[in-house]
């Protein structure tokens, strides 16, 4: 167990190191940072000064270490575009993305697991078929189209929900701008959360269904039936728990995916999150923001993966107890 966690941590560190290297190379080699900052007009002297100020004359490993050191302190430099520290930009936007991602993850997981179980248990039923067909449409509809349609129908035509931004926010703990506590914030959250969650929902649902069907075919389920256990126990006690083992991984990964997919939703709904920051950065070739976002997302993913692995331990005794031998 400890060994497992330590190994995972080491791997996580390795991943982060690689990501940092990519991020660093992005900053260092994609375009000339000095050129990006000063433009062509600048004098040789300006350039040399900035070059020295940025430490670009040091050996590359030193630069990399400094990059990592700065990154560890949350310093990713200054955005070329917004002329503000990247860390500030991200810190301002992270709450928005996290609130959106978590809401839609909740929506996707709860509904996805529920529908997955339902369609697996009522395999032939018309409702299951309808849900399955619908889910295929859900997978085939690009997220941005869903968003556009939702905006058009529910915001423009019906006027039920808000079409952009996150409404009024309140400041929690002095740094977290939360939109979950205001009516306009909640009204703003509905459409983006659905948009973002729909794709994940269909994925989770189809996965749960497939896994559940697989599990329902196993000998131990047959044996559980043969032992005369009630259907409820067989389905929810035995089948579901076994289904959850692989599903947990996917759901864990989905949470990561949701944060990344938020890019699209945030673009469509003008949601002031890190995703939109990133997409703007890409369009503006704003390298510091890109590399910071990369590091941030990698960090989130690594953290989520770690949590998923630990959850695995909780669910599957085969991992928990060392096989006596």
């Amino acid at each position: 167990m400890t060994a497992f966690i330590i190994r995972r941590l080491l791997q996580a560190l390795l991943v982060m190191a690689v990501v940092a290297l990519v991020a660093f190379s992005l900053f260092r080699y994609v375009g000339d940072p000095v050129h990006n900052m000063l433009g062509q007009e600048a004098t040789q002297q300006d350039r040399a000064e900035l070059r020295a100020a940025l430490g670009l004359d040091d050996p590359v490993p030193v630069q990399f270490l400094r990059f990592v050191g700065n990154a560890l302190q949350g310093d990713f430099g200054i955005s070329y575009r917004a002329a503000q520290p990247v860390s500030t930009l991200i810190a301002e936007r992270l709450p928005a993305t996290l609130e959106l991602a978590l809401t839609s993850a909740l929506f996707a997981v709860v509904l996805g697991i529920g529908l997955g179980i339902y369609t697996a248990l009522r395999r032939g039923g018309w409702l299951s078929r309808a849900v399955m067909t619908f889910s295929l449409i859900g997978i085939s509809l690009p997220t941005f189209l869903i968003g556009i349609v939702l905006i058009y129908v529910f915001s423009v035509e019906l006027g039920w929900f808000r079409a952009f931004g996150r409404g009024e926010t309140v400041l929690l703990w002095g740094w977290w701008e939360s939109a979950l506590l205001t009516p306009s914030g909640l009204a703003s959250l509905v459409l983006p959360a659905i948009t973002l969650g729909l794709f994940q929902l269909t994925l989770i649902m189809r996965l749960v269904r497939a896994e559940m069907l697989e599990v329902l075919r196993t000998d131990y389920i047959k044996f559980a039936r043969a032992r005369g256990l009630p259907d409820r126990v067989v389905h929810f006690g035995h089948a579901l728990r076994n289904t959850l083992v692989p599903v947990i991984t996917i759901i864990g990964l989905q949470t990561g995916t949701i944060i990344a997919f938020a890019i699209i939703t945030e673009t469509v709904f003008q949601w002031p999150g890190v995703g939109r920051l990133f997409i703007t950065a890409i369009r503006f070739v704003d390298i510091p923001v890109m590399s910071a976002y990369l590091v941030l997302i990698a960090f989130l993913f690594v953290a989520i993966n770690l949590i998923v692995d630990l959850l695995y331990y909780a669910v599957d005794p085969r991992l928990r107890v060392s096989d006596g031998g």
């Binding site: 400890t2 060994a3 497992f4 330590i6 190994r7 080491l10 060392s322 031998g325």
Partner: protein, 353 residues
């Protein structure tokens, strides 16, 4: 008979000396550091000596996991041994698994293998004709595609199928028929020596009989030498001249068939024989059978069988017995037999149950 020839001093076709194969199944380094415990070596085959005379059938029996298949793979060069020596027709083939090139091919041409699972041993996407002709093609024995095709048909007929079956795919055949196809493939390069790894254990008895008969017929016809592996004592008795009983990677008893079955000396052999349900006797209390095969990663000290042996004493718990010849011409690795605690009479009695 073949046994006579062997006795006449002719060199064995295949000889294994102190053959070993170890698998490193250690946990990753980090776990070992944190949780203690050193490397874990699984001694799947741990010092085997046997020789197979030309034209004979040497059988290896033992329970699951005792290393039978590993021996099979070692002898045909699918694994390199971790130690010991393998000689084929006087030629050292210990390193066959690592060798390419003409010399190795010349050896491979004389060896073949038949596998257990009739469903997995044929590539489902290849036509039967191509499967059978593969050895001819790979070993370069028959460059002409047409002639290979014709030859595949002949081989199919030899094993009791129709020549036109070569255009079909494996899934169009039943288990027994597939095993015949496997045999046809094994015969394609006219090998002298065939390793049969439980060739019938996945088949129904009625089909098993067909295959066993076929194998015997082919042996006679082509003068084949078999290394026959099985966990079924009755099948072994039917097929073999000489039997080696394996337990946890070692041979515990080796004897000519007749002797082994009439007077098994090693307590494990005796137990195996008792464990077979008899068609004639009923309701015998088979309480003598105890325990299960230990985890090969944590084998017992001393005689590997001692935890399950009714005759074990302190020495058995500590000292590893070596194979030694008995007066009757068999070899047994048992302190009890060596010390005379377990006599021939006891053996006969045990057999009679």
């Amino acid at each position: 008979m073949t046994a006579d020839r062997a006795r006449a001093g002719e060199a064995p076709l295949l000889q294994a000396e102190n053959l070993q194969r170890h698998f490193d199944v250690s946990k990753p380094l980090l776990n070992r550091l944190l949780e203690g415990g050193g490397r874990r070596i699984l001694r799947a085959v741990d010092g085997l000596d046997f020789s197979i005379p030309r034209g004979g059938t040497y059988a290896l029996v033992g329970e699951s996991g005792c290393g039978k298949s590993t021996v099979a793979r070692l002898t045909v060069g699918l694994y390199p041994p971790s130690g010991g020596r393998l000689t084929f027709d006087g030629q050292d083939i210990t390193d066959l698994a690592r060798q390419r090139g003409r010399r190795a091919m010349a050896v491979r041409q004389r060896l073949q293998m038949i596998f257990q699972d009739p469903y997995a041993s044929l590539n489902p996407l290849w036509r039967v004709g191509a499967i059978i002709a593969e050895p001819l093609r790979v070993l370069g024995l028959e460059p002409s595609r047409r002639r290979r095709d014709v030859r595949a048909g002949e081989l199919l007929e030899q094993v009791g199928l129709a020549a036109r079956d070569r255009y079909k795919y494996p899934h169009e055949f039943s288990g027994g028929q597939r095993q015949r196809i496997s045999i046809a493939r094994a015969l394609a390069n006219s090998p002298e020596f065939i390793v049969c790894d439980e060739p019938t254990s996945a088949l129904d008895v009625s089909v098993q009989a067909q295959i066993l008969n076929l194998m015997r017929d082919l042996q006679r016809e082509h003068g084949l030498t078999y290394l026959f592996i099985s966990h079924d004592m009755a099948v072994v008795k039917h097929m073999a001249d000489h039997v080696g009983v394996m337990y946890l990677g070692r041979i515990v008893e080796e004897a000519p068939k007749g002797r082994l079955f009439s007077a098994p000396r090693h307590p494990y052999t005796q137990m195996l024989l008792q464990a077979i349900p008899s068609l004639d006797k009923r309701d015998d209390p088979r309480e003598a059978i105890r325990g299960e095969v230990p985890n090969p990663l944590a084998p017992p000290t001393g005689c590997l069988f001692h935890p399950r042996c009714p005759h074990a004493n302190e020495r058995c718990r500590q000292e590893v017995p070596r194979l030694h010849a008995t007066r009757e011409g068999s070899r047994v690795a048992c302190h009890g037999v060596e010390e005379g605690r377990l006599t021939l009479a006891q053996a006969r009695e045990a057999r009679a149950g």
